[in-house]
Symmetry: C2
Subunit: 279 residues, 2 copies
């Protein structure tokens, strides 16, 4: 099976590493950065690299698109003519609803697209931060549409398990975006707001513990990517921020009014939710 | 040197474990729970346990108070008469301003109190979750008052380094509380609000990545303890929540208005702050 990874950034590179570790030997890479392709070849994770799509796609059974939301549609538009008959494409995009229809409209009838979302990221960007470990034990989401065949989904599912994902779940694109606004985008919003609210009167790093470290790790963020992700999922994200603010207001009110009982109730709720989270 | 740990919960127990690993042999424990004392003895981290203060204190050179803010003052009031001449006391309390004066007022002239804050916690409570590793590489804060002698501070500083802390910083109780409201209490508020804002329409655990895991870890929280900590530091904490809300509003506004440039600016700021945090 020949696989082509389009976009050898931190996620595309991690795919290449994980595929190599899982024993896949025929992996090619497409990236507009020649340095990245050189690095990938030196790492031994691609057989050959190409700065744009084209002929190589005609040989590949699976194409993994690891691009920003706004680039993925253009890539498919420009390259659908090169795809191998029966090829299965998949992506790693963090939002679905706004791209699913557009992508399917550009697709030839004889190729498949399985929309996928590996729930694993790194705050650093670029192939040098890629790691085959990032997918180990992680969640993977598939968002089927009416067009997606069971056969193609099974294939991508198997691929996901083979590179270390612990669980693959299927959910509609609309539900995916509602969920991801909460589990992924909202945490990024909070991390950014937290570290940016530091009034920097003190040398903060001397006075932090694990909680601050953990809550701000993702505030070191790939700005152009997350700007796209947020704006593609605006309605859901704003809804989640509103829900969050309601909870924050309740905590604030209880602190203001010295309402120890309400605080304890909220802490009990949060504790039991956290304990149930991954049972 | 004989050391007595008062309160063998997760932090007091971690002190006992870390002291043992660092080679301290004469460590005693005081805890009102007989099961806890039995466990600590079985773990070999205390020589003997006592369910209340009293005579044992008369033999101890160092007393580490690992109690809730509201209990610590009562303990000292009841036990100051038993303390050894020249004893050095220290605590592990997460707030300082509201307890420092009250504690110093109960102290005999011939004993010292060095107010300390190990910036290391665990979301679980109780001695069974204690770990000698928790202090490794962590920050430790000392909040000197006019009464604190250099000699006593150096002693506690040495003790902190010997059990694995990476950095000891001195700062006034007032500044400590302002800082800790931001670096420790605000993250706990955010984690609780985040997980409590889940509308639980879906089986959230299947759709999370490391970001949600990390941002909610501390939402599994010791309610009675953190209620005390929040209410003891109310003014500072409310101020930090306000600052955070201002940042959150800016993000929300940019998302609402599709203002990609502002978003990217905020992400650049947060990224560079995060990279500088522990340099």
């Amino acid at each position: 099976m020949k696989i082509c990874i389009v976009g050898l950034g931190v996620i595309g590179g991690s795919y290449a590493l994980a595929l190599k570790e899982a024993g896949y030997k025929e992996v090619y890479g497409i990236d507009n950065d020649t340095e990245t392709l050189k690095t990938a070849k030196e790492m031994g994770i691609i057989i050959e690299g190409f700065t744009s799509g084209g002929e190589i796609l005609n040989e590949c059974d699976v194409v993994i698109l690891s691009l920003y939301p706004n680039s993925i549609i253009n890539f498919i538009r420009d390259n659908e003519k090169y795809l191998k008959h029966g090829a299965v494409l998949t992506d790693a995009t963090g939002i679905k609803e706004s791209i699913v229809d557009k992508i399917e409209k550009c697709l030839r009838d004889d190729v498949e697209f399985v929309f996928g979302h590996p729930m694993a990221g790194r705050e650093k960007k670029g192939i040098l931060f890629a790691s085959g470990e990032v997918f180990k034990g992680a969640n993977y989401i598939i968002t089927p549409t009416e067009r997606t065949s069971e056969q193609a989904m099974s294939m991508i599912e198997k691929l996901a398990y083979s590179i270390g994902f612990r669980r693959v779940t299927r959910i509609s694109p609309v539900e995916h975006d509602a969920l991801i606004a909460f589990t992924s985008q909202l945490p990024h919003v909070l991390a950014v707001a937290l570290i940016n609210s530091d009034d920097e009167k003190y040398d903060t790093g001397k006075f932090i513990g694990d909680s601050y470290r953990e809550l701000t790790r993702i505030s070191n963020i790939n700005g152009p990517l997350w700007t796209e992700l947020f704006l593609h999922n605006k309605k859901n994200l704003l809804h989640c921020i509103d829900n969050f603010e309601n909870q924050l207001d309740m905590l604030k009110k209880s602190i203001k009014e010295n309402d120890a009982e309400s605080l304890k109730d909220m802490f009990e709720k949060s504790s039991s939710r956290r304990e149930m989270l991954e049972l």
